[in-house]
């Protein structure tokens, strides 16, 4: 069964939001959705870049009260 997991990477500089997302994507099953929370402005760009390059699905990306919520589905 597919799951939704939230990764709280707010207020972190190292290893940083995208590295956190990659870590948990490796552990997730195909079909799982991960929601990344990030206060790093770069996440709005670098997360979709990586998701598109590696071939996962970007479901949504929105900024709510200063926090980026980026949802990604593991596709392979």
């Amino acid at each position: 069964m597919s799951e939704l997991k939230t990764i709280d990477a707010r207020n972190t500089f190292c290893p940083g939001p995208l590295m956190e997302l990659i870590t948990y994507m490796k552990q997730a099953n195909v079909g799982d959705t991960l929601e990344l929370l990030s206060t790093d402005e770069g996440s709005a760009g670098d997360v979709p870049d990586w998701v598109n390059k590696v071939g996962h699905d970007l479901i949504s990306s929105e900024k709510i009260d200063g926090v980026w919520h980026v949802k990604v589905r593991k596709a392979k």
Binding site: C14, P15, P17, I22, K26, Q27, D46, W50, V54, G55
Partner: protein, 377 residues
């Protein structure tokens, strides 16, 4: 009051010694007892492995007897925990003994898992173990020229290590007079050459000056050992004559086996460092799932918070401090200069120009570590 510390690495050892001093009176009057369970009777200074890989330290310089690092009042056993029964406040060890506790500290650390990437264990050099570092040194010593590819697994301990490796390789081959015969290509998992933006901004011109090639958004997927090619999840590949890998890590097997946290990383409160759902269980160092660097430095600063709070809860019934995310990392920028990155949850690192005194400080710290882990620094 029984305080049980599981894990004898940097974090566990500092917590134990710090508590032994803070609670000296309570220990003397037998109101408090501190027990440590560890997987080894040896304590390794892991940052020294990079120096071993370049022939600058010998492996035996990296070890001390764990017992010799602990305050005499700490009850120490080499008997790793096999089962955690948190609801019963007991653990069971490999030898079959049970230990009850009132406060549990889990600091079991992390392990390298190169076999998670096909071909990596067979095809790549690494310096994340003693045997690996010695093997890598011998391979470097026999390398007369060609293409070196560096790949970085995720997650990994010591996020600054990939950058230090590049600087060290450059200086090593320069000192041998064959730098012009060695092509170094660095591959990094995210879209810039280091995860910390300020480190990436600082390192990029330095890489350019040294003639280092780099490819970003490269997550190593597989190594074709026979044809000496490494492939990425992103669909690219790189040929090499020598492959050096920062291996991916996981938490310890016992954490996963006991379902304490996916990947071996325990869900932890980022300020109190307590395990989610358990106020009597503290977690620190690599073992946490916190979005904080997996380094001895983070473990050190977390250990101070954990021990201060355990002691204050015993003395006044309340914790007194929160972990602010502090990490301090030396950055060796070759064999004769260094800088550092210091940051916390709120403040990003502000990198200074590398200099020789900082390198001397780092080489001094390689010895001072033993005072630090005793809780004296």
């Amino acid at each position: 009051m029984r305080i049980l510390i599981v894990g004898g690495g940097t974090g566990g050892t500092i917590v134990a010694n710090n508590l032994a001093r803070r609670l000296a009176g309570e220990i003397r009057s037998r109101k408090v007892r501190i027990t440590m369970l560890s997987a080894s009777d040896q304590h390794m200074y892991q940052p020294g492995l990079l120096y071993v890989a370049f022939g600058q330290m010998m492996p035996d310089e990296l070890y001390r007897k764990q017992k010799s690092l602990l305050e005499a009042c700490i009850d120490f056993h080499v008997d790793p925990v096999d089962e955690f029964h948190l609801d019963q406040q007991t653990v069971k060890t490999i030898s079959g003994k049970s230990y009850g506790y009132d406060v549990l500290v889990i600091a079991t650390g992390s392990r390298i898992v190169p076999k998670e990437i096909p071909g990596l264990a067979e095809g790549a050099e690494t310096f994340y173990s003693e045997a690996g570092a010695v093997k890598m040194f011998k391979a470097l010593r026999g390398f007369e020229g060609g293409k070196i590819a560096i790949v970085v697994g995720v997650p990994h301990k010591c996020p600054i290590a990939p950058v230090e490796l590049v600087f060290s390789l450059h200086d090593y081959f320069k000192s041998r007079g064959i730098r012009d015969k060695v092509q170094i290509k660095y591959h990094y998992p995210i879209g810039r050459i280091h995860t910390i933006e300020n480190v990436a901004k600082w390192a990029k011109p330095a890489f350019d000056n040294m003639g280092i090639e780099y490819e970003t958004l490269f997550n190593v997927k597989e190594v074709d050992v026979k044809n000496s090619v490494v492939m990425s999840e992103e669909g690219t590949e790189a040929a090499y004559d020598m492959l050096i890998a920062i291996p991916p890590h996981r938490g310890m097997e016992t954490i996963e086996k006991n379902s304490l946290g996916q990947g071996g990383w325990i869900p932890t409160n980022r300020y109190q460092l307590t395990m989610d759902g358990y106020d009597d269980v503290y977690v620190l160092g690599d073992t946490t799932n916190l979005p904080v660097s997996k380094t001895g430095s983070a473990a050190h600063f977390q250990a101070e918070v954990v021990s201060e709070n355990i002691a204050s809860k015993i003395k006044i019934g309340a914790p007194v401090r929160e972990y602010d995310g502090k990490v301090y990392c030396f950055i060796e920028t070759g064999h004769d200069s260094a800088t550092y990155a210091m940051f916390d949850y709120v403040n990003p690192p502000d990198l200074k120009e590398p200099n020789k005194p900082m390198h001397w400080f780092k080489t001094s710290y390689n010895k001072m570590y033993w005072a630090s882990v005793r809780g004296l620094l």
